[in-house]
Symmetry: C3
Subunit: 448 residues, 3 copies
Amino acid sequence: MSCRFLNCGFMTSPGRTAAAPDTEVVGENMYQLIKDLYPICRSITGNGVRATLKRIAQQIPITVHEVPSGTRVFDWVVPSEWNIDDAYVITPTGEKIAEFKKHNLHVLNYSIPVHKKVLLGELKQHLYTLPEHPDWIPYRTSYYKENWGFCLSDTQLQSLPDGEYEVFIDSRLEPGHLSYGELFIPGESETEVLFSCHICHPSLCNDNLSGIALTTHLAEYLAKRKLRYSYRFLFIPGTIGSITWLALNEQRAKKIGHGLVVTCVGDGGPFSYKKSRRGTAEIDRAVLHILRHTREGFREIEFYPYGYDERQYCSPGFNLAVGSLSRSSHGQFPEYHTSADNLDLVQPQYLKESFATYLDVIDVLENNRTYINQNPKCEPQLGKRGLYSSIGAPAGSGVREMALLWVLNLSDGEHDLLSIAERSGEPFHEIDKAAEALRQSKLLEEAG
Amino acid sequence: MSCRFLNCGFMTSPGRTAAAPDTEVVGENMYQLIKDLYPICRSITGNGVRATLKRIAQQIPITVHEVPSGTRVFDWVVPSEWNIDDAYVITPTGEKIAEFKKHNLHVLNYSIPVHKKVLLGELKQHLYTLPEHPDWIPYRTSYYKENWGFCLSDTQLQSLPDGEYEVFIDSRLEPGHLSYGELFIPGESETEVLFSCHICHPSLCNDNLSGIALTTHLAEYLAKRKLRYSYRFLFIPGTIGSITWLALNEQRAKKIGHGLVVTCVGDGGPFSYKKSRRGTAEIDRAVLHILRHTREGFREIEFYPYGYDERQYCSPGFNLAVGSLSRSSHGQFPEYHTSADNLDLVQPQYLKESFATYLDVIDVLENNRTYINQNPKCEPQLGKRGLYSSIGAPAGSGVREMALLWVLNLSDGEHDLLSIAERSGEPFHEIDKAAEALRQSKLLEEAG
Amino acid sequence: MSCRFLNCGFMTSPGRTAAAPDTEVVGENMYQLIKDLYPICRSITGNGVRATLKRIAQQIPITVHEVPSGTRVFDWVVPSEWNIDDAYVITPTGEKIAEFKKHNLHVLNYSIPVHKKVLLGELKQHLYTLPEHPDWIPYRTSYYKENWGFCLSDTQLQSLPDGEYEVFIDSRLEPGHLSYGELFIPGESETEVLFSCHICHPSLCNDNLSGIALTTHLAEYLAKRKLRYSYRFLFIPGTIGSITWLALNEQRAKKIGHGLVVTCVGDGGPFSYKKSRRGTAEIDRAVLHILRHTREGFREIEFYPYGYDERQYCSPGFNLAVGSLSRSSHGQFPEYHTSADNLDLVQPQYLKESFATYLDVIDVLENNRTYINQNPKCEPQLGKRGLYSSIGAPAGSGVREMALLWVLNLSDGEHDLLSIAERSGEPFHEIDKAAEALRQSKLLEEAG
């Protein structure tokens, strides 16, 4: 199993901008970004989101959009903005527990302000734990129903004595804005490739600081390249963020030809691909081709209308070709939405592999074209063009003969290079290399 | 595995006629009908058929049709009517064997009258036994070639001494009529659902008194319901009966949108479904969906041009969407066409399960509609409509959230509820319930 | 497993020319032809090819075409003609090795003339061996790059002492002709069935003297028959031969409706079928049907653009329905392209089986027609036509009842007999026999 990362065709081919990134460095840099963002308390709105976008903006020139609370976005309304400074519980014995300042998961995300004394019985109705993982703090939210609450370890819950508790949440839920970041990198074509990550989770690393880190580094890398497609990067709160963007950019969304929701790319699980609603879109075929050739044990997941923002991009009124490429997938790892989704769960090595896989997919999209064999009647004589070996010696061109023959045989205008790769069993980059050699020999021309 | 019988959507939904039958009672009633009909000697014509139809008419208001012998029906001619009063063989020792009055299978069905003395050698050319089941009497017919004969146990055959035998068959094969029963229950739509059972077999319980009993009770049950489709029930002799009905109702047959041949529904074997010739008709999808979700170990059988009356309904000139839903299938149980297909082989419990499965299928047909999501751009906010849980609590609506999301995502005019059920893996009734909730929330409208 | 060889329908049906060949004799005759041709040194051009065609012409009336060197054929040019009289190497100790007259594989095919003394080091650059089979001589060619060389056993190579060697190749590479043989047998239809074999290999039996022998005997056999299709037999050098024929017969090629490349049909391996590029052409379906019903363990190979002359016939500008039916397939047996592909590897028994399989396939092509059921509404009454048994007795017609029912049910103009055979699971010849019986009973007519 090897990744094609270091010699992506569209980066190293003659006439194209060169130099693939040093993957080790990229893996470390992604991890560093996660470390920087980890302490911030994010939500679907508020200053935590702004701080996050500010840190990203140090690396790539995103535009930050502020959408006022109350804005109607399709069936939804942009909610009030939530901010929080402190929160804790004081036990009957005077102990301070569930301190927001020690871990921001301790507070039910979007809690309204509260400061009062309650008996244990009432308090328990506002406490959330994970009995199956008694030492972990769960992550819970209440965006669209006003509530307050605390999350803590089940071990701590079990130890709480009867008596009166002081609960304190110093939060504000007031009209404000929904903030999101956006970066557009123009390419030769107006057709866009979308990378969308959610930025609403507080101290949770795999879901989804890893997605933020990968998207940021992908944008940074692609910004320096000559590109066929245009690329759009969205850093948005989950659900309400994608709904907001789609509502404000309904026409623009039609230009999205391919897309991926970037999430859970930092853990050590095998790769997973959740297909777009279409199921056989080019992005689906491209990702699955790369995974088949480079990632043993990957999982292919049919679209279902749950999970991350692909739910919105794939709603029937848009039906965009947007899938989701991750390591462990939505809800399928024990640390999901708990304090165990921390800086130990994600690792530079895994981030690096994910980054490389995303680049491989982009390489397919950038180079997948449909050619017409200019000598369709019988095979052309490859030998006289230096493209065919004699007496068993390898051809000097470095191109696989079988790849040449497949490209010639199937370049009838009905097969793009990716479908030739799929039918032949050859990896895309070998098919692409063969096509390039044949194009240079005037044996191929791109289809009208 | 559970059957949906007791809460079929189309029976219990608001505004629809309520009250599913008490299945225990239905099972017992079906069995009682079988017991009543068991002694009668039926054939493709004759008074046994009339007596059978008369008993059915005590329960449901069927019309009895009498088609004269000699009537041309496509390539066939309605045969002479056969009636029989008595038949037996007297052995050289004076013993009376193969007595028709003890078991009507003893006589070759459609035997011409005979009364003469024959030596054992000649007699044997008219005797039929089952050496592989030496104690069972086989069931044999000779409708279209004049002949006489007796069926008996192989044990008895082996014990017959040489000598002269008296054979006596008091039958009449004369111009008369072919009799069949028909019931039409009109629904909102002119499109019909056909249930067809054959009534030509004498004392044989699974094949096909069970089919008669199930069809009768289905008709009785549906007659009291408000129905989307119209329903037609045919009680006909096999082959010549369906050919006759199709020949006399060629235009009417075009209104049959879905249909099932009802047979072998009383034994304890796993369910079997033989698909229509079309193979992917709605009836095929509906039955297989129900079996997948409620009947472990069921068998899916591709159409073949043999078996029961689906042969005629699926002839290329009609090609109706008619399959056959049974327990053990045609010829696939040892008791098939023998005296062992008796009142012990069929049981109220099995009849009840079959009845419930037929109701489940009807439920799918009645409720399978195609809707259009009225909020197709992004998901609607289900929470504000009380259709979505918060903080992990189950939604108060009793509707599965995944079912809601699937219906919304696929209600693009190209998927009926059944196909949404199939793609989602949810049972049809959950999808139907979700669709109803969404319809009431104005989020769905039926497709034009 | 039995082959249908001895009663191919199109040979033995009433009104058709009778008498299948004696397979034992055919197997022996094929083997004898291989023995006659084995010693000849063939190449893509030259007198060896002419001698081969002359021997074939003793058996069937082929036309021999001579295409001048230098003729442009699509992207290629007919090469100079190669002839050789002698070749050998004399070792420092005076031993004569790699003698062409002992085995014509010893010389690199298409070697230019050479006569000089060289040291062992230089000589080794012109020697080819097979270290993995140290006693076998490999077969090597250099058609399109001028070179000289010798092939020998690796054992001998390892024993060569240092010193000066005399190399001698008495060959001529001069303008001349490319020779090929062709036979056309007209049938009722202008649509042609192509059988193409390559005749360029020297002393190699399975690849492809076996193909020459089978093609010759097939032509001899079919020439005496009344045929529906026209048949074309090509005896051509590999690659350049098919390219030449296609270039000179571009319009004629459009009449080829079905075709097979005949090669490697004499060894004892299981049958293999490499599909045409189309993949579901009638020839693909016919061959696979026959193999499924008669040849256990056969292999079904998807088209790939390498192998034998199907590469040219299936180039995108022609895309002919030409597959390749063999025993062991291209490159997949250890003796491939070595001196071990000799008279021991091929056997009359295997040749006979291959011949029979080819005849079975031709039988399907000749008799595969589409009929229309003239009594499409319900089943016709087969009994009154003597086509249906009564009381379990086999029908006198010798026709399977299920085959009759399948043909009637599917003869709606959309299914040819082969597809009816495939869907029913019945062998084609039973379906064909049933169709013939129904046609004679006026129940079928051929589709428009």
